[in-house]
Symmetry: C2
Subunit: 368 residues, 2 copies
């Protein structure tokens, strides 16, 4: 019987390869890994909604990981929220992991606040404001360490799901992709429903000017580009994925931030690209204010898969509001939803996921 893509997974780019990728991971043993980091860029007013206020974004990645491990946060009360009170997409990831349990592997991709969980240290440091042009330290060293870690993980599972949580990360994604010479015009997503493209572009231009490296040199050196205007998650994420993808498929779980990681992988080792797919949410692929497909198609024929999540009929306003374009993606929510379907032979669906998400939402958020 030939493999049929379930209707809850949408093939958005390079459909044939996306279908093959899905077939390859269907019913296989996976691990979920998440690279988490902080960048001072998140604290520029108007940049990130991944925290109740700019200072709170320091805690968001650590709190997200605690949510996955323990079903509740430890370093903060409640769960990470936007300034409007919308809960972290980590609730989606946590719900997917509850329905399809798999090992969780956290990587410290440059944290200001460490989670109350075990995590892999790859010698990353927190990122600076990209306007300094000196955003990240030792990118290549963190890439190399994570490469080694990815190879170890690949020996233990059939495939890997890799997410990220970096407040302010869409701005650094714009920074990196601009530095690498990609056409980024209104293509990068945002946690806000109205994407502050102009503010982000201005911040990026300032950073590129401040770094003092010729644009032609920056374009050819992904590690220098990250160190100038990227964030500290990018190099270890690219390393981990490249190391694992030498031998197993890797589902890169994220939106345009993962597209930036893909650009790093392409620059460092394009031989592994055949083992990659991007997995995200419908909110990203249908977003009118960004263009993930337009970005990824500049990098090769890596497929994009989208979980057809739809919260419009949710009982909770805090979930319904995802349909207005707030938050959209993060903590590998879309990719992990897809992986939960794959791990359960399709028994997990967007409907059963929403039920689980609502249950966790009720427990974690609505009673606060």
């Amino acid at each position: 019987m030939s493999f049929k893509v379930p209707e809850d997974i949408v093939l958005c780019l390079n459909e044939e390869r996306g279908k093959e990728f899905l077939e390859n991971i269907w019913n296989k043993r996976a691990a979920y890994s998440c690279i988490i980091g902080n960048t001072e860029t998140a604290k520029i007013p108007g940049i990130s909604a991944a925290g109740a206020n700019p200072e709170a974004t320091d805690f968001t990645p650590a709190a997200d990981m605690e949510l996955l491990y323990f079903g509740r946060c430890k370093c903060i009360d409640g769960v990470p929220i936007t300034p409007d009170g919308i809960p972290t997409p980590g609730i989606i990831t946590m719900s997917a992991l509850k329905l399809a349990p798999m090992p969780i592997v956290v990587i410290d991709g440059g944290l200001r606040v460490r989670p109350h969980t075990p995590y892999i240290d790859v010698d990353a440091s927190p990122g600076e404001d990209i306007r300094t042009g000196k955003s990240v330290k030792n990118a290549e060293r963190t890439y190399d360490r994570a490469l080694v870690a990815g190879r170890q993980l690949a020996k233990m599972v059939d495939y890997l799901v890799v997410g990220e949580s970096v407040p302010g990360g869409t701005t650094t994604a714009l920074g990196l992709l601009t530095a690498l010479g990609y056409d980024t015009n209104e293509k990068i997503s945002s946690t806000f429903p109205v994407n502050p493209h102009d503010l982000k572009r201005q911040v990026v231009i300032e950073g590129i000017e401040a770094c003092g490296i010729e644009p032609e040199l920056l374009e050819r050196d992904a590690m220098a580009a990250i160190e100038a205007v990227g964030d500290p998650m990018m190099a270890p994420a690219a390393g981990l994925i490249a190391g694992a993808a030498e031998s197993v498929p890797v589902l890169m779980a994220g939106g345009t931030q993962m597209a930036a990681v893909l650009a790093v992988i392409k620059a460092m080792d394009d031989t592994v690209m055949d083992n990659l797919a991007l997995g995200t949410t419908r909110w990203i692929t249908e977003d009118k204010m960004s263009d993930m497909k337009g970005l990824v198609s500049q990098m090769g024929d890596v497929p994009i898969l989208a979980a057809n999540l739809n919260f419009s009929l949710s009982r909770y306003d805090g979930l319904k509001i995802y349909e207005t374009g707030l938050v959209k993606e993060g903590v590998g929510a879309g990719g992990m939803s897809i992986a939960a379907m794959a791990a359960t032979d399709g028994r997990v669906t967007c409907r059963s996921l929403l039920d689980e998400i609502e249950k966790n939402y009720a427990r974690l958020v609505s009673r606060r």
Copy 2:
């Protein structure tokens, strides 16, 4: 066909259970994990030979891990050696891993010097001189974090091999086991051929007196005992092993230091003891100046397996000298040798291991 224990593995204690354990792990998928740490106790003159001099012992655990990952050390030139120039048992572990490759997972169990490898952080800090009676910080927190990590690892492999590298660790093992009320009289091993039992006992007595806790209380509280006179590897090692052993067998690779970890597990969660075996070297089980069997038999019916390593016919003096009782064990050398035999259906033997060890010894040591 019934399972036959190969002659290169010696059943030393609880033979029937040892045979069952071996049968359970035979030809199965394993990961090798090593918890590494430092204690200032190693710098007491005459305590440890795991380094060219007391200060050099800070680098030994990190260098051992680099050896496993990269086939050479990065934080030091050459490999860790005793004051007499005898190379680290990490060469045995590395050779076993070359013949039977498996994923390597390093845990920071309180390091002064970090390895140039990825490693899992469980919030451990380097240990103090046990004569202070305040050897270790936050033992229970590191146990809990490692417990969570052990559960994740157990989801990815059929069984786990867990080693350690802690210079000075036999003295802290004596400290912990004494504090927990075990009969330790001349039972704890040493890196030296002539075991400095009196010096060690004196150091331990000083530490127990300094800690200011009543012996009866210390006996009943393994975490307090570690914090008083243990080392920082013990709690995360016990946590990792207990977390994994909830669902899969764990081969505790080590000598009397691992016996101390077993005592911690017994105190924290004795329901997992059925899933454990100790794997070590013949040099430990035949040592006349220590008594691992006498220790372990006080803790329950956990089997001891020994790799029948014999270097007496080696071409290299630096290996031959292992037969005089120098070094004996460390970095999980004995247990990993057994795991290499199990992973290859017995194709790896003590003979083929020695060939591989000699090759690596020649490359790493003799040409220096």
